[in-house]
Symmetry: C3
Subunit: 155 residues, 3 copies
């Protein structure tokens, strides 16, 4: 290593992801978020495996599509008069070393709520960790863990 | 594949997009949005085909670059003292089955308006459907239909 | 293809980027932003070359990791009680014509600040120009120039 420009290997190597996998994962989320944002509860649940699970930021765990559907139905009233949109960024994608059809993804999420006058408000930001599986050439979410972004240093 | 984890084929298959096409389309929008956000009206119009059209959320249709340029000129006063930025997310990209140079894209849009004091405000969110065409190796927008995001359940 | 719809070559060609490079650059930023947003100052500095530099929107230039670390330490108090997240969009990626390991990237940035009650506020938007270099198969930032987005027409 030439001392002048080559940095020391002080950080963990960043796993590389192919362009095709990057596009596949982004496309999966583009579909999944259209389902949830159109309040198509069954369509959204169908983007999970039958035994799929979501662990919400508060710690509540929903297991299986039926439980997910029931939970979403219960929260529908909060979207009365509101157009909700989930925005993602900074995907980190890692293929399981032992199973090319298991893919772990983490990403940032921003949620906008637009009322019928066009006023936009925001939910707190979140970071999400997903385990995706590929079945019959399609990705599904097997597990989703949602973390509310907290200050690093308390206020 | 073990039967227990295979989800039923209850949803339409998500069309796959190659990494190269994904990057090409994203790069096209990165250029196009720099044009519109810098209020480079002619430069923006040039990212459309000569007969390109935009259907605005209110239903107003602008056809051809000349009409687009006139419409943008008329709306310039609203950007006095304002830095506007268009943010995209969740691109769904589909190549036409009969013409590899026709690409349909839909995406989410968030628009920020930053005033000279640095205060950020937001336009309502939109979902956009584009038809792009590749001519001489470059993409152009042939048609853009802009939908304002509406509540699924009225308030 | 019918001649009538071919637009005149009135704009500069958009440089094409491969899907793999697009994913590599996005993945680099996903890692780098997790470092800065977790206030991992040394981890963030390590994503720059040893002689890396940041030119802030006000014109202040920090050269080398040590200076960067000192500058970030000094600004830590502003993140007390605040979860900060940097959101990127519209990456334009161009490989240096003479050196495949030098990559210039420009992108939009939106910064959210979420307080412990979950209230989200925003910094003004920025456009950033980076020069990245690939060393030992990993990207590093060699220079970053941050521009605050200004109105095109004064208010």
């Amino acid at each position: 290593m030439s001392q002048t420009v080559v940095p020391k290997p002080v950080r963990t190597a960043v796993p590389q992801v192919s362009g095709d996998l990057y596009a596949e994962v982004q496309t999966f989320y583009a579909h999944q978020m259209r389902r949830v944002d159109s309040l198509d509860i069954e369509g959204f649940a169908d983007t999970f495996t039958e035994d799929g699970a979501v662990v919400h930021a508060g710690g509540n765990r929903q297991s299986g599509r039926a439980e997910m559907v029931a939970g979403m139905r219960a929260s529908l009233p909060r979207y009365r008069g509101i157009a909700v949109r989930h925005w993602f960024d900074h995907l980190l994608i890692e293929v399981d070393g032992n199973d090319a059809d298991t893919v772990r993804v983490s990403y940032y999420t921003l949620v906008t709520l637009t009322d019928s006058e066009g006023k936009v408000s925001f939910q707190p930001t979140f970071t999400v960790e997903d385990e995706l599986v590929r079945r019959g050439g399609q990705l599904y979410t097997r597990e989703r863990v949602i973390h509310r972004d907290e200050p690093v240093v308390a206020g």
